[in-house]
Amino acid sequence: MKKLINDPENVVREELEGIAAAHSDRLKVSLEPYYIMRADAPVKGKVAIVSGGGSGHEPMHGGFVGKGMLDAACPGEVFTSPTPDQILAATQAVSGGAGVLHIVKNYTGDILNFQMAADLAKEDGIEVEAVVTNDDVAVQDSLYTAGRRGVGVTVLTEKICGAAAEAGRSLAEVAELCRKVNGDGRSMGMALTSCTVPAAGKPTFELGEDEMEIGIGIHGEPGRERRKLAPADEIVEVLATAIVDDLPFKSGDRVLAFVNGLGGTPLVELYIAYRALDRFLKGKGIAIERNLIGPYMTSLEMAGFSITLLRLDDELVRYWDAPVNTPGLRWGA
């Protein structure tokens, strides 16, 4: 394992200390328990938004804390959901009296820990609504399973709901908007290589030199199928077809296209994928009206990428374009 770390045990703490040192103008970092919050939180009268999840997906979620996006993020150990005490402490710290939205990715661990925290926060008199994102079409959905994983759409909900909260919308409205974004968004990813959890010390899975994993999860969970390597255009077509067919996205739809790098994939490859996606969607009469291209929701150093499409309307475009000022996403500010 080759990593720029000191000790696998201290990765998250030292990362948080680095974030604290780097962004003290905008963020406050709690080390006991771990959470990152806006320096100006709690914002009185504003719905607060808290998310979190395992570390190793940076900039998600800690890099999305700031005006116009999250009020707080709770990082767990690498690829491990945070614990209820973190989530509770963060919820208490940012609660500005207008309620707190928990944005939770659909993984059993995240759900259980956020649930415990929400129960405790409610006992504490804080109004909490939780919205679960579950946009990964790679997972065969069923009422009887854990359901789909929450992936790329999570980043989009955080941006859009952050803008709505900033605009003074109520907890019920922001939660409703969050469910709408999740409902109108779909994602799928693929991996060319595995990644190595520092504490594990070896790759989560093995892939042959000529293989790729279609439908990979952001924790290296095996995906839909393992295939022979293929050209970028073909891979994009596989992912985009699954995504478009699932919602389904239709001719005339306006979309936000999010081409996300999983960590080890250079930007040049993401643009090659974007080119293919643009052509694919044009062919279906679907218009890309906004885009986001880069490593925003990563899996450590995994090579691979994911595509997320979100159906847009004027309201979503307005919230997407609204100013955001976080270390990981910034415009208009």
Partner: protein, 212 residues
């Protein structure tokens, strides 16, 4: 015949030791159908538990288990943190105010622990989770006691039922937890959580049995 505080402590310490020993194995099982951290998670949690329970003044078993629960909940994360936290929280609740823990108390407490896990995690038998080890173990324990077996024999039966349940997860297609994302591809692999639950039942037998 009753479970003493020091036996309960021994149970916790043995479980910590077993998890530490099998950390890599549990992690590998999880890498095959999950995200490769189950051993790391459980070991992080149980290592945090040890100094916490050491620091306790010899008290009642319920508060020992409550300490284990709170420590697991606040250090493990993932799916297993809240679930094992719930196991120990339910044990603590069920054993609250018991001056001494009789085999029947333990049996009821274990049943309520399994119930807690199921109500939190919504897993049914054969969903390929820790429930598949815990539920048969709890049933075997109470069946044996009901049939008049010794506590030792009942504990042994519970351990063996957990082991059998664990092995029986191999062919199953996961319907809960991270492994469920794999669908059919999850078949052929043993569930990591069921495996750590077997270690838990084994630790209980080792700590509570008289004749061993």
């Amino acid at each position: 015949m009753a479970i003493s505080y020091s036996q309960a402590l021994d149970f916790v310490q043995r479980f910590a030791q077993a998890v530490a020993t099998d950390k890599e194995y549990l992690t590998e099982l999880d890498a095959a159908i999950g995200d490769g951290d189950h051993g790391i998670n459980m070991d992080r949690g149980m290592r945090a538990v040890l100094p916490k329970v050491d620091a306790l003044t010899e008290g009642d078993v319920a508060s020992l288990f409550r300490t284990v629960a709170m420590t697991l909940i606040s250090t493990v994360g993932g799916a297993s943190g809240p679930l094992y936290g719930t196991v120990f929280l339910q044990l603590a609740t069920a054993l609250k105010d018991k001056p001494e823990v009789q085999p029947a108390d333990w049996s009821l407490a274990l049943a309520s622990a399994v119930g807690g896990v199921q109500s939190r995690g919504k897993a049914m038998p054969e969903d390929k989770t820790m429930v598949d080890a815990l539920l048969p173990a709890s049933q075997a324990l109470s069946d044996q006691l009901a049939a008049g077996a010794s506590f030792d024999a009942a504990l042994k039966a519970a351990e063996e039922a957990a082991e059998a349940g664990m092995k029986a997860t191999i062919p199953l297609v996961a319907r809960k937890g991270r492994a469920s994302y794999l669908g059919e591809r999850s078949a052929g692999h043993q569930d990591p959580g069921a495996t750590s639950s077997w270690l838990l039942m084994k630790a209980a037998r080792e700590a509570f049995a008289e004749g061993s």
